[in-house]
Each structure stands twice: as structure tokens, then as C-alpha cells.
């Protein structure tokens, strides 16, 4: 599982590298964005704003806003794996959509740990290397859509979600979260719709807990 998602996502790095160089970033700036920032959505936003003629400050703001969801992922990974010391710093660096998804999609602790580290480190290396290749090759490699890579990423996230949809409640929540995301996309800045979906899931949990408590008290 880790290998196929790592490959599909890493290949995307080629297009990031090519697009960043086309937007006027140097080879080393482009590579630094992948090695250090290492959160795909934020990186595309950063170079996208600059390519569109926006100020670097605006690029900084959009990239940072898109990175807020990683805080939520960090809380979840900490709850699952409790990394300490240097390991904590390293796990923070490789906390991204895919590593969170690969970890939380697993049932047992060792599988969660394996999923997180293999996907996180694998994509960190693959994505950074692919970025450098894309930055060197330039424009010719800027169109990952032609190879269906975007379809692979969609399928990978659905594949990670699927095992969790075994009852009516998770299905209902998944549909609500997806709808909330799509409907708020045209209204809210990039990065915010996923946070609204997260807020909806938290609210769902609080309400469900309250309703359970109320029915238990009614029974007592």
C-alpha cells in the first residue's frame, strides 16, 4: 500500500519541479520547497501565487493557510504513535495528507506505525528527488494529468477511506464531509474547506456523544 501511493504521489513532484522553475524559482529554491516545506498543496500554492504575479507575502499566506490541516494530522499521529525527541521532529516533518491517511487507515499499532513511516519517509525522498528531476527537465514534464496521475491520487485516497465505511454512520459522515468541502470551495480560500469539513466531523462526534449520554440518562 505504502509503495503504490508513494510512487503515484512522488511522480507528481516532477510536475512541481517543472512548474516552479517555469514560475521563475531557481533549482535550489525549488528543491528547498520540497525538502523543507514538504506539503504538496502549500508548495503548489506558493509557486502558483508567484507565477500569477502575486507578492511573496501573499504566496507565504496561502501556503501557510494550506498547511494548517497538518496541525490536525499532527494531533492524530501523536495520539496514535506518541513519538519522542528527535523522532518527534522527524515525524512532524513527514506529517502530510498521505502519511496521516496511511497511518489512520490501519487497525493495529504496528501497522499504523509502519504505514506512517513508510509513506512519510518514502514520499519525502521520492517527492524531493522527483522535484529535482522536474526542475532540471523543465516544461516538457509539467503535465501529470496526461498520465492520469491525478486519477491515481483520487483512487488512493478513496482506497484509504474505503475500509472505514463499514456502517451507516461513517458513510453519512463521509458524504457530509465531501459535500461540505465541495460546496465551500468556491466561497472560502484554498485550504479552508478541508478545515470546515474537519470542524463538521468534530461537531458530529460531540453531538453523537451528547445524544448517547442523554439517552443513557433517560434509561437510568
Amino acid at each position: 500500500m505504502a509503495a503504490s501511493i508513494t510512487l503515484a504521489v512522488s511522480l507528481y513532484g516532477i510536475s512541481f519541479g517543472a512548474l516552479a522553475v517555469a514560475a521563475g524559482f531557481s533549482f535550489w529554491q525549488t528543491t528547498a520547497l520540497s525538502v523543507l516545506m514538504f506539503t504538496g498543496g502549500s508548495q503548489f500554492a506558493f509557486i502558483g501565487v508567484v507565477a500569477a504575479g502575486g507578492s511573496p507575502a501573499a504566496a507565504f499566506s496561502s501556503a501557510t493557510l494550506l498547511g494548517v490541516r497538518n496541525t490536525l494530522y499532527g494531533i492524530q499521529i501523536k495520539a496514535l504513535l506518541r513519538p519522542l525527541g528527535l523522532k518527534k521532529l522527524l515525524s512532524a516533518q513527514v506529517t502530510i495528507d498521505e502519511s496521516m491517511a496511511a497511518a489512520t487507515a490501519q487497525e493495529t499499532r504496528p501497522e499504523q506505525r509502519r504505514g506512517f513511516w513508510l509513506t512519510g519517509i518514502g514520499i519525502w525522498i521520492g517527492w524531493s528527488a522527483a522535484t529535482a528531476i522536474g526542475a532540471l527537465l523543465g516544461d516538457a514534464m509539467a503535465d501529470p494529468e496526461a498520465f492520469g496521475l491525478d486519477g491515481a491520487v483520487v483512487a488512493a485516497f478513496l482506497g484509504l477511506l474505503w475500509p472505514r465505511l463499514k456502517a451507516r454512520e461513517p458513510w453519512a459522515l463521509a458524504v457530509v464531509a465531501a459535500l461540505v468541502t465541495v460546496l465551500t470551495m468556491p466561497l472560502a480560500p484554498a485550504g479552508v474547506p478541508i478545515l470546515i469539513a474537519a470542524a463538521a466531523a468534530i461537531l458530529w462526534g460531540l453531538l453523537a456523544a451528547r445524544m448517547e449520554r442523554a439517552s443513557q440518562e433517560a434509561d437510568a
Binding site: P56, Y73, I75, G148, A152, A174, L179, G205, L206
Partner: protein, 103 residues
């Protein structure tokens, strides 16, 4: 400030946001409600990521070959295909639909 400064500042901000999640006190995570909400949050986030990656386009959304990839992947999952096959089917159907002229 130079572009390099902004690049490094944005990288530092991205790391700080990630690390912030790991700084939540362990005692908060021990609360029973947290485990339950964490499970729901995973479903909400994964569903949002599926939706985002399927239809996101600039400042809004668009329906294109990625929707076909999503449908094909769902069928593959219903047929209990292994993960790697699901991912491959997603790529092949998006690329195939584009060859047929879909955006």
C-alpha cells in the same frame, strides 16, 4: 525581502504548524471523547481529501476525468481489488477518459 527569505520563512511556518499538533498535552489525548472524535475526524478528513482531489480547480470546482477515476476506483473497491490495483485503475481511467477527449 528576497525570494529566498520568503521561501525559508514559508518552510519554517509549515514545519511549525506540523510540530504544533505534536505539542498538544498528552493528558488531553487521554480523554475518551478524543479517541472517538479522532476516528470520526479521520473519516471526515479522508472524505474531504477525496472530494478535494476529485473536483478542485483554481478558485472553485470542476467535473472532469477525475470523476471517472473516482467511479472506477469505487467499483474496483466493491470488487475487493487490492490497493495497488485500485490506484492503477484510477490512473488508467483518468488517462483513458482524456484520450477519449474528456477534460
Amino acid at each position: 525581502m528576497s525570494m529566498w527569505t520568503w521561501v525559508l520563512l514559508a518552510c519554517a511556518a509549515a514545519f511549525a504548524l506540523k510540530l504544533l499538533g505534536y505539542s498538544v498535552p498528552a493528558t488531553w489525548l487521554a480523554h475518551p471523547l478524543v479517541g472517538r472524535i479522532s476516528g470520526l475526524l479521520t473519516i471526515g478528513l479522508l472524505a474531504a481529501l477525496v472530494a478535494l482531489n476529485t473536483v478542485s480547480y483554481e478558485d472553485g470546482f470542476v467535473f472532469d476525468a477525475r470523476l471517472g477515476a473516482l467511479a472506477a476506483a469505487a467499483v474496483a473497491l466493491m470488487l475487493r481489488a487490492p490497493f495497488i490495483v485500485v490506484v492503477l485503475i484510477g490512473a488508467l481511467s483518468a488517462a483513458g477518459l482524456r484520450l477519449l477527449g474528456l477534460p
